[in-house]
């Protein structure tokens, strides 16, 4: 209880509120501009969070970007028929038809209302379940931690699309990159080739910038040049918002989508990209007006938007309690936790309880603030939907280089980052996703440390991971998840072809 109150008081400061408001706006902007993503927004903000007053403030700021970005993604989905984020694809199904009918404001209102309700409910679920789960897993030893890291790596299959081997190679490449440099256990240098450049290895921050942010800039700028900056027509925002009756009519759809998404969010690897389709289909199936879906159904917009914002809260459950990411964005957040000295997982609620609850309360408040920020700023943010990429690209690049250097002040890491950028381009041509690489890099130290500890404690008995019951259960769960991811991937590939 003390930790809960400390967490609540920690988050209730004017400083935190200002940070949250600004971060939500940043999230809305990066979410709504096609070509910028929530992940990019988080990575751009991450170096700046080093100077924030506390680690919890830093994480709350990053979560604000995530929440704002999820809503922001719907703005361009409705106005341009171009989803600002992957999780807003289903929003285009009904959001854009509504815009074509001249009902832009109505669609945006539904999106905001559904996003806030979905996000709030998921945050409450997070608040009430995370403490309980962490108590259940508080006796975990290095063996179980290792099994958990393996479970986290199973997310790779979830983000691999239709070829798991490429995902596995990506994950192993991430593990390999993290091996380079000094081994933290034995102090032995690995693959440094006797050069200072490789002696310290590559840390997470510059790698994230190269693999995700700079690679996105490179690809989007390339597309901009090839298309000579052509842009879609944007719909104008009218004045007729959602009525109270309409608001009531979409509540069942919001609750249904939130329920499904909350469940999906707790499963590592599935994420908002998949949840939105499942929720959209389910809400359509039980709707009294399924014929309106795809032609401008308010329920359709509500289902998609409640779903992607609910995911934010419940994807934090496995991250905070087990230390394993729920989706691609929470994988980046896991990196941010580590950079800020927060160790998410079973011990977080006992050793850093106040920080854990501050983050949870922060997420709850961010979802409330999103409603007001959405009401005030949606119109302004919508105006920058069509900002030319030639204005944004160069500034994002400068931000990335500044952030990469600022991370450790190391010249070597900036040089390595440029090398990783070249590799990232080659990987894009080989159709290998960079998210598994990031996941491998982030989870590698946790995996290796706990593997080595287990080997020391149990005299090198590698079968110990199958002999200890909880570890065995986690590994069996991993196998089940991998199998189900493969099935879901096939289903999603089918849905995307539709």
């Amino acid at each position: 209880m003390e930790a809960i109150m400390s967490g609540l008081f920690e988050v209730l400061s004017l400083y935190n509120f200002v940070i949250m408001l600004l971060s939500i706006i940043l999230g809305m902007i990066v979410g709504c501009i096609p070509g910028l993503t929530v992940t990019l927004g988080i990575i751009l903000l991450l170096p700046l969070t080093y100077s924030f007053s506390s680690p919890s403030t830093a994480i709350i700021a990053l979560l604000s970007v995530y929440v704002g970005g999820m809503y922001g993604g719907s703005i361009s989905a409705i106005l341009l028929n171009t989803p600002g984020t992957n999780a807003a694809i289903a929003t285009t199904f009904d959001g854009y038809p509504l815009a074509k009918k001249g009902k832009v404001k109505k669609a945006l209102d539904v999106s905001l209302f559904a996003s806030v309700i979905g996000g709030l409910i998921a945050s409450v679920i997070l608040l009430f379940t995370s403490g309980l789960i962490s108590k259940m897993v508080s006796n975990f030893t290095s063996t179980e931690y290792f099994a958990l890291a393996v479970l986290g790596l199973s997310l790779i299959i979830g983000v691999s699309g239709d070829n798991i081997f490429k995902g596995i190679i990506g994950g192993l490449l991430g593990l390999f990159i993290s091996i380079i440099g000094l081994d933290s256990v034995t102090g032995v240098s690995r693959f440094s080739f006797n050069t200072m450049l490789l002696y310290e290895g590559l840390s997470i921050m510059p790698a994230m910038i190269a693999l995700i942010a700079l690679t996105q800039v490179m690809i989007k700028a390339g597309e901009f040049i090839n298309t000579k900056g052509a842009q879609n027509d944007v719909s104008k925002i009218d004045k007729e918002g959602i009525t109270n009756e309409e608001r009531k009519s979409i509540i069942p759809a919001i609750l249904r989508a939130t329920g499904i998404s909350s469940l999906i969010g707790t499963m590592p690897g599935v994420g908002g990209g998949v949840a939105q389709f499942l929720c959209y289909n389910e809400v359509k199936r039980v709707s009294k007006h399924p014929e309106e879906f795809g032609k401008g159904s308010l329920e359709g917009v509500a289902a998609a938007e409640a779903s992607n914002n609910a995911i934010v809260g419940t994807a934090m459950i496995p991250l905070l309690t087990l230390g394993i990411p729920g989706d691609g964005v929470t994988a980046i957040l896991l990196g941010a936790f580590i950079l800020h000295g927060i160790i998410p997982g079973p011990t977080m609620f006992t050793k850093q309880g106040a920080t854990a609850y501050a983050i949870i309360f922060g997420l709850l408040i961010v979802n409330i603030l999103l409603y007001f920020m959405g009401l005030i700023f949606t119109k302004q943010v919508a105006k920058i939907v069509q900002v030319r990429y030639s204005y944004l690209g160069p500034l994002i690049m400068t931000f990335c280089f500044a952030g990469a250097f600022a991370a450790n002040g190391s010249v070597y890491e900036v040089i390595l980052m440029m090398g990783v950028l070249v590799i990232s381009y080659i990987l894009s041509k080989l159709d290998i996703s960079v998210i598994p690489i990031m996941l491998g890099m982030i989870l590698a130290p946790i995996m290796e440390q706990n593997f080595v500890n287990s080997m020391i404690i149990y005299d090198g008995d590698i079968m110990i991971f199958f002999k200890r019951p909880i570890s065995l259960v986690i590994l069996i769960l991993t196998a089940i998840l991998v199998w189900s991811f493969m099935k879901v991937n096939k289903k999603v590939a089918g849905m995307n072809k539709m």
Binding site: S51, I169, Y425, I456
Partner: protein, 150 residues
């Protein structure tokens, strides 16, 4: 040029893993004192072994099961992204040798030119934006960056 991504990935990462498996003995020394833990070579061997197995699986997928994902590499189209990649590397090189602001002043206009911008005020605005990023890190967030010297 059509890139058979499964086959090519399999070949590239297969060769990569074999080379690095062979390099393990020379690149990872065994500690002089036994701390009771596993050898520092075990994880690299597991990682590289896994990479080799996955690479072989990709090659089999491509050649035996004819499952392939083709990506078209058209230099006419891809030269834009490659040019931006070159500009990014140049930005990093200039930043490390001559400082962040120098890099902003020299390289950002090049990037704008490649992106097709010709209006002078956009150039001025972007350079000011880049310098603004520098002062944001230095003054607001107290994070050091090289200004002019490397």
């Amino acid at each position: 040029m059509n890139i058979r991504t499964n086959l090519l990935s399999g070949i590239i990462f297969g060769i990569f893993s074999i080379i690095f498996i062979l390099l393990v003995p020379s690149q990872i020394a065994v500690p002089a004192f036994d701390n009771g833990g596993p050898s520092p070579r075990i994880i690299p061997y597991m990682v590289l072994g896994g990479t080799l197995i996955s690479s072989v699986a990709l090659i089999i997928q491509s050649l035996v099961f004819k499952k392939e994902r083709i990506i078209i590499f058209d230099f006419k189209f891809d030269k834009a992204a490659l040019t931006i990649l070159g500009i990014m590397i140049l930005f990093g090189a200039v930043m490390l040798n001559f400082g962040f602001i120098t890099s902003v002043v020299i390289v950002l206009p090049m990037m704008l030119f490649v992106l097709g911008e010709r209006k002078p005020f956009i150039y001025g605005f972007t350079i000011l934006g880049g310098i603004g990023v520098y002062y944001l890190f230095i003054e607001v967030f107290n994070i050091s960056l090289p200004a002019f010297g490397g």
